[in-house]
Symmetry: D2
Subunit: 435 residues, 4 copies
C-alpha cells in the first residue's frame, strides 16, 4: 500500500512536492545536536496501523486488511508496513500496546503466545532497520472486562487480568530494548460516584504500580515508568487528570522515584491547561519524561488526536524540552491519527510530514528564542529582588512574619513593574517569522 511512495526527503521550503519535508532536516545540527536527536520522533503503532476511522456515529473508512491467511500472518504483514512506513519517513522509534502488535486470541494464554511470536518477528525488523522501541504498554481499556477499570476495577479477577497483561507487556518491552513503560488509565476512574469508592480504587492502582516496578526492576529494566495524564474520555472522570493530580498520587504512594510523565498535548487542553503548562510543571518538579505529540481542537470537547500543525504550541513545547535538558529515555511519539475523511495511506504520510515539519519548526524557533535570550533575560530579571536583601532572606528561610511586617510597615508602598506580556508576545512573533 506504500509502493507508490518513495523515501521522504528534506527539500527547500518553497518546494511544492507534497512528499517532502520543508523544515525537518534530520542531520542538520541545531544547538549542537542533530535535529533527529533533539526530536526523537516515534510512530504510534495503534493510530498508524490499527484504527479504522470509526467514530461514535460512523463506520470505518480506512482499509486495514493486511495480507495473510491467519491472524498471525496478517499481524506480520502489518509489522512490515509499519517498518516500511517508518523507514520511508526516517522515523527511528515506535511505541505499541500489546494488542496492537499481536492478535488478541481467545484468551490470555493465546495473547501471551502471540505477543511472544510477534516480538520475535519485530525484533528482526528492528535489527534490519535500526529502528528502536521508545516504549511499550498494555491495552487494559478496550476489552469488555475493563468496563469498570483495570487496576481500579471493583472486581479482583479483573485486577489479576490487568496484572497479567502488564507483566507480559513489560517482558515485551524489555525484550525489544524499550527505554520506557507507560500506564495510561483510560478506564481508571469512574462513571458515577454513586457506585464508587475512590479510596479503595486509588489504593489498588498504586498497589498494581508497585508490583509492576518491582517486577520490571527484578528483570533488569533500567528505563522509566510513565503515567500519561488524561482527565476524561472514555471514562467520565479519570484519576490521572493532569500532571499535578498525578504528582499528588505518586507522592502519596511513594511512587515518585520511578515514575515520570508522558505528556500529551490534547490531554493537557482537555484538562484545562496549555500543553506548555503541563510540560513546565513536570519540568520544575523533575518528572518530565516523554511526549505524546498531537493536537486537539479547543472548540471540541473530546480527544481529536490530530497531527500537530500549530507551530506556536510546538515551539513552546520544544522550548520547555530544551530547558529540561532534552529527552533522555523519552521521545516525541505521534499519538495522532488522520481525520476520518483522510482515509488513504497517502494521508498518513501527509500527517506525519505535517507533524514532523511542525515540530522541526518548533525546534528551530525554540533554538532561536534561546539564542536571542530576551525572553529568558526578562524573566530572570523579574525575580531579581529575591537575590539580595529581604528577598534573599525569604528564599533562604531566614525571616518571619514579624520581620516581614516590620519591613513592610517601613516601606510605605511598593513599586511594581509591568509584566510586559504584549512586548514578549511580539518577540515570539518576530522570531517565529524570521526563521
Amino acid at each position: 500500500m506504500l509502493e507508490k511512495i518513495s523515501v521522504v526527503k528534506f527539500e527547500e521550503k518553497e518546494s511544492k512536492n507534497p512528499f517532502s519535508f520543508k523544515f525537518y532536516n534530520a542531520d542538520e545540527v541545531i544547538l549542537g545536536k542533530p535535529m533527529k536527536d533533539h526530536l526523537k520522533f516515534s510512530m504510534s503503532y495503534w493510530h498508524t496501523l490499527c484504527g479504522e476511522g470509526t467514530d461514535p456515529f460512523g463506520k470505518g473508512t480506512i482499509d486495514r486488511t493486511f495480507k495473510g491467511e491467519d491472524e498471525l500472518s496478517k499481524a506480520k504483514s502489518k509489522a512490515d508496513v509499519a517498518f516500511e512506513l517508518m523507514s520511508k519517513l526516517g522515523i527511528e522509534y515506535f511505541c505499541f500496546h500489546d494488542v496492537d502488535i499481536a492478535p488478541e486470541g481467545n484468551n490470555l494464554a493465546e495473547l501471551k503466545a502471540n505477543v511472544e511470536i510477534m516480538t520475535d518477528y519485530i525484533k528482526e525488523l528492528m535489527n534490519k532497520t535500526g529502528i528502536k522501541l521508545l516504549w511499550g504498554t498494555a491495552n487494559c481499556f478496550s476489552h469488555q472486562r475493563y468496563m469498570h477499570g483495570a487496576g481500579s476495577s471493583c472486581n479482583a479477577d479483573v485486577f489479576a487480568f490487568a496484572a497479567a497483561q502488564i507483566k507480559n507487556a513489560i517482558d515485551a518491552t524489555i525484550k525489544l530494548g524499550g527505554t520506557g513503560y507507560v500506564f495510561w488509565g483510560g478506564r481508571e476512574g469512574y462513571e458515577t460516584l454513586l457506585n464508587t469508592d475512590m479510596g479503595i480504587e486509588q489504593d489498588n492502582i498504586a498497589r498494581l504500580m508497585h508490583m509492576a516496578v518491582d517486577y520490571a526492576r527484578a528483570q533488569g529494566f533500567k528505563g522509566d515508568f510513565y503515567i500519561e495524564p488524561k482527565p476524561k474520555e472514555p471514562t467520565k472522570h479519570q484519576y490521572d487528570f493532569d500532571v499535578a493530580t498525578t504528582l499528588s498520587f505518586l507522592r502519596k504512594y511513594g511512587l515518585d522515584k520511578d515514575f515520570k510523565m508522558n505528556i500529551e498535548a490534547n490531554h493537557a487542553t482537555l484538562a484545562g491547561h496549555s500543553f506548555q503548562h503541563e510540560l513546565h510543571l513536570a519540568r520544575v518538579n523533575g518528572v518530565f519524561g516523554s511526549v505524546d505529540a498531537n493536537q486537539g481542537d479547543l472548540l471540541l470537547g473530546w480527544d481529536t488526536d490530530q497531527f500537530p500543525s500549530n507551530v506556536y504550541e510546538a515551539t513552546m513545547c520544544m522550548y520547555e524540552i530544551i530547558q529540561a535538558g532534552g529527552f533522555t529515555n523519552g521521545g516525541l511519539n505521534f499519538d495522532a491519527k488522520v481525520r476520518r475523511a483522510s482515509f488513504e495511506y497517502e494521508d498518513i504520510i501527509y500527517g506525519y510530514i505535517l507533524g514532523m515539519d511542525t515540530f522541526a519548526l518548533g525546534l528551530r524557533i525554540a533554538a532561536k528564542l534561546i539564542e536571542d535570550g530576551r525572553i529568558k533575560e526578562f524573566t530572570e530579571n523579574r525575580y531579581s529582588s529575591y537575590k539580595t536583601g529581604i528577598g534573599e532572606k525569604i528564599v533562604k528561610g531566614k525571616t518571619t512574619l514579624e520581620e516581614l511586617e516590620k519591613y513592610a510597615l517601613e516601606l510605605g508602598e511598593v513599586k511594581v513593574e509591568s509584566g510586559r506580556q504584549e512586548y514578549l508576545e511580539s518577540i515570539i512573533n518576530s522570531i517565529m517569522f524570521s526563521v
Copy 2:
C-alpha cells in the same frame, strides 16, 4: 435597611410567605443532631456587605452606603447591619477578609490600626449575639500591588506586604476566636508563561505558608489552615487549581499536616469536576475541612457565585460531609451573592433563604439516603471480591505480577457485573421526592 424584615422562621412548605424557611428548621434533629449543627451556616462578609453589583461591563447597582461621618463609623454601621442580618436569619457564623471589616486606609499601618479597632467592635457584637467567627483571611488580591501575585509575586517587597497582611489577619482571627484561617490564591498563578518561573513562585508560596503556620501556632492558634482551590479567574492559571493539585503542593512542601481544604462548589466546576468529586477526594485523603457554598452556571465560564438552589448538588454535598463525620472546625459558608439585578437588601434575604433551604433539603435527603442504605450497600458489595481470596492478597500486598498472571491464566475469562447507574439514579429521585 432591614427594618421592614422581621426574623425569618420555619413554616410549613406550602406557605407562600416569602420571608420564611420552608425546609430549614434549625433545632429539628436529624441523624441525632440539630440541623443547625449539621449545617453550621456562615455569612460571607464580602458578598453580603461589600460588593456593589458591578460586573466587567456595568456599574454598581446595590446601595452600599452605611451611616457614618468617617470611614470607621461607616465600617461600624456596616458591622451592625451584618449582625442584624445574621440574627434575623438565624446564622451563627461569619467569615471575613481584613479589608471587608476595616477601612483600608492610606497604608499598611492604617489598615492594621483599623483592623484592631474594628475587631474590638465586632467582638462586642459577637458577645451580644452569640454569633461566632468561622474563619478569617487577608485580601491579598485586590490591591494593585498584588497584580503579579502575593506569595508568588516576582517582587520581594510585595511578598513582605502579603506577609504583613496575613500576620494581622491571623491576629484578628485568633482575637475573635476563629477556628480556621483561609488562603485563597486569586493572584497566585500566572497570566503568561513567557515571564513566569513556576518553580520559584511555588517555592515562595510554600515559604509564606510555613511562616504563617509557625507564627499562628506560636500565638496558640489551634484551628485549621485551609487552602481554597480555584483553577482560574482572576488569574489566567492559578496554582491551587483543584483539590488534587493542592494536595500535590502540600505533600511536596510538607504542609499536609496543617492544611485542609475549603471547597467551593463553583470552583470545582470551573476546574472540570463536580462539587461532590472535590468533597469525596478531600474526604478519602483526610483533608476535608470547610465548604464555600454557592452555585455556578455550567454554561458560563466564570465564577457566578450564585446562591445555591440545586438540591441534587446540596444532597450529594451533605452526603459526603456526613460520611466525613460532619464539620469539626469548618462550616458551610455562603460565598454567594445576589444577581446584579437583584439589588435590594430584600433580595439578600431571599438569597440566604434560598441557600439555607436548599442545604436543609440536601441534609434531609442525604439523611434519608443513609437511612435507606441501598446506595451504600450496593457500593460495598461491588468491592467484596477484595475481602477474600486473590482480592484479599492484593489489598494486603501479598501477591506479585507473576502470581496474578498465573491466577488469570487459569481463570479463562472474568464475569463482570453491571454498574447499575440508572437504577441508582432512580433511587436518588425516589428518595428526593419522598421527603
Copy 3:
C-alpha cells in the same frame, strides 16, 4: 431476554420494587389530560435495540444477537423484542432510522427491499399492540460514503444516495402512519474550512429538503418535518448548530412553513444553551415540534445521551411544552442509552423507568407551577409598562426616536425594579418538594 421482567406498573413512591414506576401513572389526569397524552413517550429503536456499548476506546459490552438464521429473521426477532419492551413499559410510540429496522444489505436496492419487508412486519406488530410510529428518518451519516456529508456532500453521487434513502424512509414513515419525519445532519457540516464552501453546501441541503417536502406532500404526508439541531459531533462543526441557526437557515430558503424543531436536551447544552432555552425559543417562534429526551453531562464535551434523571430540567421542559399547547404531531422520544457498564436488558428497563419517572415528576411539578401561578404572574407584571402610555406606543409602532428622546429627557431618571431571581428560584424548590 425480557422473559424475567413483567409489566412495569405504577406503585407508591416509597416502593422498593425496582421494576415499578414511582411517579408515572399513565392514566392519571393532570391539567385535564391523562399523563400519557401529555408525555407521549416514545422508544428510540437505535439506542434501545442497536448500539452495542462501544466507545472510542472500547469494544461493545451489550449482547445484540437476536434469534434468526439470516439477517432478516434476526431483524424480525429484534422487532419482537422492541415491541415486547414497549408493551411491558407502556410506551405507545417509537422512532427509527431505516437501518435500525432493516438489514443494510449489500447495496441500496437490498436496503430498499429489506425496509419494505420489515415495515410489513412491524405494521403487524403495531396493529397487535396499538403502538404507533412517532417519526421516521434515514441514517445518512454512518456509512463511509457520507464522510463528507449527505445533502452537503461535495460529491453529487452521494447526494443522490442520500436522496434515495430519504425517499424510502419517507415512504416507510407514511406506510406506518408516522406523524413526523426528521432530518438530523450529523455529517452536514465541515471538518476544516480549508476544503469547504459553506455556501454551496447549505444551498444543496436546502434543495434536498425542498425535494423531500415536495415528494412527501405529493404522497399525502400531512405530518411535520423536523430538523434536529446539534452543534458538533461527529462533525467538527454542524450547520444545524442550534434552534436559532436552524431558523436562520429555514427562513433563508423558505422552508419555515414545513419544518419544526426536534429539540434534544444534550444537543442544547453542547451548543451552549439550556434545554429550556431551546424549547422557549422554538415556542416563541412557532416552530416547537418534538423532543428528544435525554441528558448530557455538562462537564463532558460529547453527547452522552444518558437517560434523563434531572427533575429540574424535566420540569422546565414540561413547563414550556404545556405553554406551547402540548404536543400535536410530536412526542417525547427517549434518544437515550444505558451507560456502557450497564450492559444488561434489565438496565434498559431501569433506564426507561428512570426517564419516564423523571418526566412524570417534571409534568407533575410543571402543572403545580402553572396552578400556583406566581411565576407567570410575576413575569407578566414585569412587562406591564408596555400596556399603556409610552410602552403601548412602542409596541404598536407609533413612536419615533425623536419622541422617545423627548420623553426620556423629561423623565430625568428611571426607576428600575429588582429581577428577584433568588425569590423565583425558591418558589421552584418549594413547589418541587411539595409534590
Copy 4:
C-alpha cells in the same frame, strides 16, 4: 504620557527596537493595494483610553487621570492623547461609545450637551490629523438602568432612554462622518428564564432597530448598521449569540437589508465557533461588514479582549476578508486591551504594535495563499461534480427524489475522495513560514 515615544516606523524584522513595526509597512502594496487600505486599522476609544485595568477581583492598575479642571477639560485632554497615540502609530480610524468621549453628566440632557461639545472638539482633531471615524455607538449597558436590558428591557422608560442615547450617538456618528453605526447588545438577553418573555423582548429590540434605521436614513446616513454578536457576558444569555442567530433575527424582522455583521474574534470563540467560521458565514450570506480584532483565550470562559498575536487566526481572517472583496464601510477595529499587569502607556503601544504586526503578517500570508492558489483550487475541484450531469440537475433544481433514487440504484456504490486535511494544513505552514 506619550512624550517619550516617537512615531512608530517599519523596520527590518530582525530589528530589536521594541517601538518599531517588523511586519506592518503601511504603504507597501500587496495584491494591488497599500497594506493600510487592506487593513483599515482602527483604535477603540474605550479600551485604549477608558478602562482602568479593574477585574472582578481587583482594583484598577492603569492611571487614567487626564489634565483638566473639570470633566470636560479632562475629556478634551483624553481626546488629545487619543489622537497623539493614533498619529504615532499611524492608525487612521477610530470607534467610540457616547460615554467614552463625553462625560456622562448627571442626566441625559447633560450627556447630550457634552457629546455635542466633545464632537466639536474631536472634529477639529480629525481635521488636523486626517484621522477618520469608522463607527460610533451608544453605551446602553453600563448604567444601572440597563440592568434588565435596553431595547429588551421589561421597563418602557428604559427603552425610551436607550432610544434617546442611540439617537444622539447616531447624530454624533453622522456629524463626524462615520461610515457605520454599531449595536452591541451586552444586556439584550436574560439572566433567568423564570422572569423572561423572549418573544416580547426580541420584538422590542427589532422595533428599536427599525426606528434607528428610519431616523438615520432620514438624516442622510448612508453607512452600514452593524450588529456585533456575542453569546454571553455580561448577560447570562445574549440574544445576538452569533452570526447565524443574528441572521435569524434580522430575517424575521425584515432588517437584513440595513444590517451587516461586526464580527469579534473573542465573541466567536465564546460562542463555540472559530473566528474564520463567523467571517465565512457572514460572507456567504452577504452580511460581512466590519471586524473587532482581538484574541480570546480558549482555556478561559470570558472575554479577555487581548491584542491579537496569533498569526494563524489573523491569516484566515484576512483570507476571508480578501475573498469578501475587502472592507467597504467597515475596518479592523482593535477591540483589545492590555493585560491588567501591563499598566503603562508604553504597554498600550506594545499592544498595538503586536496587533498591527500580527494582522500585517496575516495579510502577507493570506495574499501568498491566494497567489499560490493550491487551497482554492483544491476546494473548487472537490465540488466539480455539481457542474455536470446529475450534479448540475441538483443545483439547477431540475430533479426529484424519484429521479435521484433511480440514479443511485443504478450506481451501485459511490467513489468518495479523501478530504486531505493534513495535506492542506501542511500547505498553510509552508506558506506561513516562507513569508
